[in-house]
């Protein structure tokens, strides 16, 4: 029971070696009045076969609907090799590589990961991961405050075209340190940051500007102009990017004339299953000048006592176990296993495969949008280019339509109404390379039916 290997003889000889008669005596320093009588709130033990039945039934309840939701988590094909290797016990059941000589596998993998992410983002240095994209944005804002020595305001400009959950998370993660998040409105026609929204900050002390590309609506922001606008005013730029998109889109390190200072994002599209929201991983890359302000683990290559190359955790003086209250963050455990999966995924994809995934996903989304706007009562919401996600307006309230679609086994997109009531009934929809023309046609005809029913009701 409880995966305990002891035989009765083992226990007896161990108790004798300790010099006690019963295991209970080992708890004699706990005040007796605090001792727990029983655990009625926990069910009886289930063996492996029984829990297998329970979980299979729970999985059946969840089903496998046809999903057109993106909004920060994307269904991509994951090659079989990715998790076959990532779940090897040597990766799965190891811990943070504190003993470098016995952890060269994990350390070298992280070094390769850092190389890939730095190159993908067009920046010089990557850390070994943060929790997820949303919390990484919060950490990036805190980092910008440390890195921008010319600013004392702790003001961060966050356009409302940034994922609403990311904005909420950044406020929760960084708000206690006095950061002030000021939300910038978007242009109603374009679904992008409007130039006029920035004008009123001219001449003011601002620490950082956050730019999401593609933005929450899937729209492409004018990143060059935004980046240059910020840098001309000593404002640091925090980029929030989709890693798949970087196979085709300009990397943050090349935005404008100087490039973004920090890039973060959700690593999930790189070989991590949707899995109800996690575990995913946040990535963070930056210009080398900011490396000592970065949170989280970083791996470096060095030499061993025999002069051979090897890998080790480095710049640990930034971290909580050394610097304690003065650390760059309290993060300790990160998302190592997901980084393992992503590094294998990126190796299998290579530059050509990642471009294919990005292009195929984009092509499917264009096909989807074309099919949906062919449905009576559906129109595109914004003008201008998108990448692999788009917003469409409906002529009937979105929530009941989505419910009707779900009853038909289709998840028709993310309802924009809660976070953007000014848009009227609208959906954010996404198709990746996993969707076929038949899937898209099924969705479009079901949507036509549901809208018809909604009008009739």
């Amino acid at each position: 029971m409880a995966f305990i290997p002891h035989t009765r003889e083992d226990v007896e000889s161990m108790l004798a070696a300790i010099g006690v008669e019963r295991i209970e005596q080992l708890f004699d320093e706990i005040p007796a009045n605090l001792r727990l009588a029983g655990l009625s709130g926990v069910p009886e033990a289930a063996n492996e076969m029984e829990i297998g039945r329970i979980m299979a039934e729970r999985a059946r309840l969840d089903g496998r609907p046809l999903c057109f939701i993106g909004a920060g988590a994307y269904e991509h094909h994951i090659p079989a090799a990715v998790w076959a290797i990532a779940t090897r016990g040597e990766f799965y059941s190891a811990y943070t590589p504190y003993q470098a000589e016995a952890s060269q596998g994990t350390l070298q993998l992280l070094y390769e990961y850092q190389t890939m992410m730095a190159s993908l983002t067009g920046l010089e240095v990557s850390n070994a991961s943060l929790y997820d994209g949303a919390s990484a944005m919060g950490e990036a804002c805190l980092m910008a405050v440390r890195a921008n020595r010319r600013s004392h305001s702790r003001r961060i400009l966050v356009p409302t075209t940034v994922h609403p959950h990311y904005r909420a998370t950044a406020r929760a993660v960084a708000g206690n340190q006095g950061l002030v998040f000021e939300e910038l409105p978007y242009c109603a026609e374009q679904g992008c940051i409007g130039a006029d929204a920035l004008e009123r900050y001219d001449g003011q002390d601002v620490t950082a500007l956050v730019i999401q590309q593609p933005n929450f609506f899937g729209r492409l922001e004018d990143v060059d102009a935004l980046c240059d606008w910020a840098h001309a005013r000593n404002i640091l730029v925090v980029a929030v990017v989709n890693p798949t998109s970087l196979a085709l889109l300009k990397p943050p390190g090349q935005w404008g004339s100087k490039g973004a200072d920090v890039a973060v994002g959700e690593g999930q599209p790189l070989g991590v299953p949707l899995s109800s929201g996690g575990p995913y991983f946040g990535f963070m890359a930056a210009r080398m000048e900011h490396v000592r302000q970065m949170p989280g683990r970083i791996v470096g290559r060095t030499l061993d006592a025999a002069g051979r190359a090897g890998f080790t955790l480095t710049l640990q003086a930034r971290e909580q176990h050394i610097r304690r209250a003065k650390a760059t963050s309290n993060i300790c455990t990160n998302q190592g296993l997901l980084v393992t999966a992503a590094t294998i995924y990126l190796s299998l994809m290579g530059p050509g495969g990642l471009e294919r995934v990005a292009a195929a996903s984009h092509a499917r989304t264009r096909e989807l949008v074309d099919a949906l706007i062919g449905v009576p009562g559906v129109r595109p919401l914004f003008r201008g280019p998108v990448f692999h996600e788009a917003a469409v307006a409906l002529d009937r309230p979105a929530a009941p339509v989505l419910e009707k679609l779900a009853a038909r086994g289709i998840l028709g997109g993310f309802d924009l109404t809660e976070h953007y009531p000014e848009l009227g009934p609208a959906l954010l929809v996404c198709a990746t390379e996993t969707k076929t023309t038949a899937d898209i046609e099924r969705y479009a005809s079901a949507l036509a039916e549901c809208l018809r029913e909604a009008r009739a009701a």
Binding site: F3, H6, L26, I30, L34, L36, I54, M55, L61, D62, G72, E75, A81, A84, Y92, Y95, Y98, Q99, A100, A102, G105, Y111, Q114, V125, L220, L248, L249, K250, P273, L274, S275, S276, G277, G278, F281, V299, T302, A305, T314, H321, I322, A325, A327, N330, C332, T333, N334, L337, T340, T343, S347, L348, M349, G350, P351, G352, R356, H362, A406, F414
Partner: protein, 505 residues
């Protein structure tokens, strides 16, 4: 474990080689013609061009350069490196769970939500708290949530001056770092020679600025804080709250509950006590539990129940919430693994865990003392972990804790935690966990005894260790001085510089 070093994957790369069977079909250049040229990438990223077999072989070989629980004894103190049951992984990876989008409607997630709801209930039962939120993604984020709730609680009462967080000097580094992230000031209190918090010092520190105290119990010194009730009374009387760092929950599972000791808020490391994998540095999960007065401040989302349906509870249901700590629902897949493990342990298994973890630690302590090692707290019971100090050996033999740690690797054992807590000189913090057999513990004692004998006779074998790992001792100073954080192509290696056009090789 292999000792053959593996070259970086970029050095296998050959332009034009690929794993195309894993790629989607080429949609053609027209598929992306709508993307404006000014927003497009012009050079390809530095990703390797390798076959599937090369990829599989490379990463399999890298895995073989690691110690892990599945391959080696891994008594890393404070980390609870217990066996990760295979069923927990395979059942959490059922296809429906993996495919479920985080923004799916509740109607397409009743199975998943039921697991989370029951996990909340089980965690309430084992911790003695009134409400639980599962979303924090690691212990440190759970700590953050806890201290943020303490702050929010004081603020909501108009008690705006309370910004001091008290931590014992032996606390985990995450405790003071968390206090800073929550905008608090850290006040340290000493512990007495027997390892308990110095009550007089605590009484001198608490006051109208005290927001709360962060404690681990059993403490980081591997002993149970015996006067915990008096600590609780002292802090509560001063208007502060008590935070329980759940790093050491494995020691007391089913025996005593933080809620009954007087704690107001706790986090639980599911990757420690509830056996979810450590994954080479994560993912973890750090759910938080609270007493009734802190429940309104829990981070969202939570899982609630309306009639027969499980539903998400968000900011609308908890308007005083400290907010959202992740994009979606924390490390959901980790939560499923912990749920499965807890169901397999059941009511009776919970207590067995702490009993056998404690038996193993006390047995190791007794055997190590007999083998000539000094306990840091010889008058105390060990809990689920124990500390020995090599101060005497370092002085007499010139062999340090680091040397012992590295030499243990040659014996095929991962080193215990070294030099933590900082309070104990030359220390090893050893946590065997309940899933290790007596034979594994005996082998560890034999290895330690052998190293001790070697340190007397042939100290350079110990100070020069490890000798059998893929690399010798690594130069950390050089690593920090000459930063080499990314692989760089040299003339002899192919570099992917071809333009970013969706081309079929």
């Amino acid at each position: 474990m292999s000792t053959r070093l593996e070259k970086p994957i970029f050095e296998y790369s050959v332009p034009g080689r690929c794993a195309e069977d894993q790629w989607p079909r080429d949609p053609g250049a027209a598929a992306t013609e709508d993307l404006p040229a000014s927003l497009r990438r012009t050079g390809r990223p530095l990703l390797p061009e390798v076959s599937e077999l090369e990829t599989v072989r490379h990463f399999t070989r890298l895995s073989q350069l690691n110690f892990s629980i599945d391959t080696h004894f891994y008594p890393l103190g404070s980390c609870t490196m217990k066996y990760n049951p295979k069923a927990c992984n395979s059942l959490a990876m059922l296809p429906q769970f993996l495919a479920r989008h985080p923004l799916s409607p509740e109607s397409a997630g009743q199975g998943f939500l039921a697991c989370l709801y029951e996990l909340q209930e089980m965690l309430k039962a084992v911790t003695g708290m009134q409400a639980v939120a599962l979303s924090p993604m690691a212990g440190a984020q759970g700590e953050f949530a806890g201290v943020a709730m303490i702050r929010a609680y004081h603020r909501a009462r108009g008690d705006l001056e309370r910004n001091e967080i008290i931590v014992p000097e032996a606390a985990h580094g995450t405790n003071p770092a968390t206090a800073t992230m929550c905008g608090c000031v850290v006040r340290e209190v000493p512990v007495d020679p027997e390892g308990d918090v110095d009550l007089e010092a605590l009484k001198a520190v608490v006051g109208p600025k005290t927001a709360g105290i962060m404690l681990t119990n059993p403490s980081t010194l591997g002993v149970f804080e015996r006067r915990i009730e008096e600590v609780a009374r002292t802090v509560h009387a001063a208007g502060g709250l008590l935070y329980y760092d759940g790093a050491n929950l494995n020691a007391i599972l089913g025996k005593v509950r933080p809620g009954d000791m007087g704690f107001d808020v706790i986090h639980v490391n599911l990757h420690k006590t509830f056996s979810t994998p450590h994954g080479g540095g994560g993912p973890g999960a750090g759910p938080v539990g609270v007493s009734a007065r802190l429940a309104p401040f829990l981070p969202v989302p939570l899982v609630g129940r309306r009639g027969e349906q499980y539903v998400w509870l968000t900011e609308r249901d908890l308007p005083q919430s400290i907010g959202r700590l992740s994009g979606f629902m924390g490390n959901a897949g980790v939560l499923l693994r912990a749920y499965i493990y807890m169901r397999m342990l059941g009511r009776e298994g919970m207590g067995k865990v702490s009993e056998y973890a404690t038996l193993n630690a006390n047995y190791l302590l007794a055997r190590l003392q007999r083998a000539g090692f000094d306990a840091a707290y010889p008058n105390r019971r060990a809990t689920h972990e124990l500390i020995i100090t090599l101060k005497r050996q370092a002085k007499e033999l010139g062999v340090t804790t680091m040397d012992f740690a590295k030499r243990l690797l040659d014996h095929g054992m991962h080193a215990p935690t070294t030099y933590f807590p900082l309070l104990v000189p030359e220390c090893l913090l050893i946590e065997p966990t309940e899933t290790e057999s007596k034979a594994a513990l005996d082998a560890f004692v034999a290895a330690m005894a052998e190293i001790l004998a070697e340190a007397a006779q042939e100290p350079e074998r110990v100070t020069g260790a490890p000798h059998t790992m893929p690399v010798r001792r690594l130069d950390d100073v050089r690593a920090a001085k000459h930063l080499d954080l990314t692989w760089k192509p040299t003339a002899s290696h192919a570099t992917p510089t071809t333009p970013a056009t969706p081309a079929s090789p």
